[in-house]
Symmetry: C2
Subunit: 261 residues, 2 copies
DNA sequence: CATCCATGTCCAATATAACGTACATCTGAT
DNA sequence: ATCAGATGTACGTTATATTGGACATGGATG
C-alpha cells in the first residue's frame, strides 16, 4: 500500500527518504499518530522511526498534538509552504478563478496538480448543491482515476508515462483493470482536444470536466475541473467547457510565474 | 551569520539537519540559488550540499527554477504546509480578524508566531497609509527586536528564556546591546499586563502594539500586532489596545484547535 | 495470577552517508 | 595565453546513522 520507492529488498533506507515518507504518510492520514503506529503502518523499523520523529520534532517539522505522544506536521512546514506559495504566486488568481467558475456554473470547481506521481486537488470551490465529493482537497489519488490525470501527463512520451505512473494505480477503485494502452490513448486524445471529460470512475453519479492550465514550459502545469451531477453535466456540456476554457486562459502561464526573481 | 546549532567543532552534520538548514536558508533568501551558492553561504561542504539537493529534488521538496541549475522550495512543501494549515485551522478566522482590525484602526495589523527560536510575521494586513514595513511576512527576526517577542516567550522561566534565545539576538539592529535581564523584565511586565508596546527597535518612526493570542496550553501561541506611525500610536493608544484585545479574544484557543480529531 | 500486546528506550554491529580532495569545464580578467 | 574563480562531478575514507533485538513498562484479558 505504500513504499513505492523500495528498489531492492534488504537495503537500508536513507534517513531523508524515510523522513519524507513519514511526513507524506501523516499528510495522507490527516491526523496525528504515535511513532509506533507510523512505524507499523509504513513498514519501517520502529527504532528508526523513533529516531527520525525526534529529529523532526527538534526541527519543528513535526509537533506533538492530540496527546499520548502523537505527532503531526509542524509549523515549520507551514512556513516553508507559505514561502513556496509566495514565490510561485498562483493562489490569489486561482481563488478568484474558482469563485467565478462556481458562480457561472453553480457546480463544484477544482484546481488540481500532480503531487509527485499522483494527482491531488489543490483548491476547491463547492457548487450550489454540494454533494459528497469523492476526493478531498489535499488527498492524493492515482492519476488514472481522474479526468485531469489525462492532461497532466500529456507532455510525457508513452514510455515515460508508463514509467511515471505506479503500475498498481491502473487498478480502478471498483476493482477493474484499466489497460495502460487505453489510458495512453485517452491521454493523446485529451492532448489533441485540450480537454477531457468522462463519467467519474471514483463514484457513480458525477461527470468530470477538465482543461489544462499551461505553465512556462507550455505543458499542463495544472488543471481546472468541474464536477457535476451526470445529467447536468451532459446537458450543459458545451457551456461548461466554454467557462472552463475561458477560466484556464486567464491562469495560463501564471502557476509557474515567479512573483520576483 | 548562520549555523546556530553547531554544537562542537569538527563534527559531521546529519543529513536531515543540513537538509532543513538548506530549506530554511532558501526561505530566508526568498529566491532560487545554485547549490554552490547555498554551500558557500551556509558554510557546508559542497559535495554534501550537492548530494542533499539532488535528494530533495527527487522528493519534490526542492524544484529547479530560475534557470542555471538554481533551486527553490518545491511543491511538496506547499502540500505539507497546506495539510498543517488545514489541521490547525486558524487561517480563516485569522484573516477575518486582521481585516477587521485594519478597518477599525486604519493601521497595519499583523499575526505573528515563533519560528523556532525566532519571531516571524505569519500574516499581515496593510493599513490605510502603507509605509515601508521593516519586517516582511515570512522573514524571521530575533525575538528581542519585537514587541510580540516579549509575549511569545512569557511562559518560559528566566533561565529557559536565556537558553532559548540565541545570545547574539540581543544585539539590536542599531548595534546596541540589550541586556538579557532588561529583556526579561520587559517579558514579565508584558506577562502581567497582557500586552506590550514600544517604539520600534527596528526602525525609527513606528510604534508597535502587541497582545497575546492564547492557545490550548494557556500561553501565548501567537500575537496580534499593530504597527503605526509614532504620533498616531501614542494618540490612539487606548483605543488601539482595546481593538487588539477584542480581536485577540475572538481568536483565543483557536490557533491550536484541530478541525478534526 | 499469568499472558499478551502496545508502547517506548537502549545498545552494539555494520552498511553507508558525509566529507575532503581531485578533476573537468567554463568564464572573465590581465 | 595565462590565471583565478565559479560551477559541477567523481571517488575513497571514515565517522556514524540505521537497524534489529533486548529490555522495561503498563494496560487489557482470561
Amino acid at each position: 500500500m505504500d513504499a513505492v520507492q523500495d528498489e531492492a529488498a534488504g537495503k537500508r533506507a536513507r534517513g531523508l527518504d524515510r523522513a519524507f515518507e513519514i511526513l507524506d504518510f501523516l499528510r495522507q492520514k490527516r491526523q496525528a499518530l504515535k511513532p509506533n503506529e507510523i512505524a507499523a503502518q509504513i513498514g519501517a523499523p520502529r527504532s528508526s522511526v523513533y529516531e527520525l520523529v525526534n529529529l523532526l520534532l527538534q526541527n519543528g517539522i513535526l509537533e506533538f498534538t492530540g496527546g499520548e505522544g502523537r505527532v503531526y506536521l509542524g509549523r515549520k512546514l507551514y512556513f516553508l509552504g507559505a514561502a513556496y506559495e509566495n514565490h510561485f504566486d498562483f493562489t490569489r488568481e486561482c481563488e478568484a478563478t474558482l469563485e467565478q467558475l462556481a458562480d457561472e456554473t453553480r457546480e463544484t470547481a477544482q484546481f488540481c496538480m500532480l503531487d509527485g506521481n499522483r494527482y491531488t486537488v489543490v483548491r476547491m470551490r463547492e457548487g450550489a448543491r454540494p454533494f459528497r465529493i469523492s476526493t478531498d482537497v489535499g488527498q492524493s489519488v492515482p492519476i488514472p482515476w481522474t479526468a485531469s490525470g489525462r492532461l497532466l501527463v500529456a507532455h510525457l512520451s508513452d514510455q515515460e508515462i508508463l514509467n511515471f505512473i505506479p503500475p498498481q494505480d491502473f487498478r480502478l477503485p471498483n476493482g477493474e483493470w484499466l489497460e495502460p494502452q487505453t489510458f495512453i490513448a485517452e491521454v493523446r486524445q485529451a492532448e489533441r482536444e485540450g480537454l477531457f471529460t468522462f463519467n467519474s470512475i471514483v463514484d457513480s453519479f458525477t461527470h468530470c470536466f477538465a482543461v489544462p492550465v499551461r505553465g512556462e514550459e507550455g505543458h499542463a502545469a495544472a488543471t481546472l475541473c468541474l464536477v457535476t451531477p451526470r445529467d447536468d453535466g451532459i446537458a450543459n456540456r458545451d457551456r461548461y467547457l466554454d467557462c472552463l476554457k475561458k477560466a484556464a486562459a486567464g491562469l495560463d502561464h501564471a502557476p509557474t510565474r515567479p512573483k520576483r526573481g
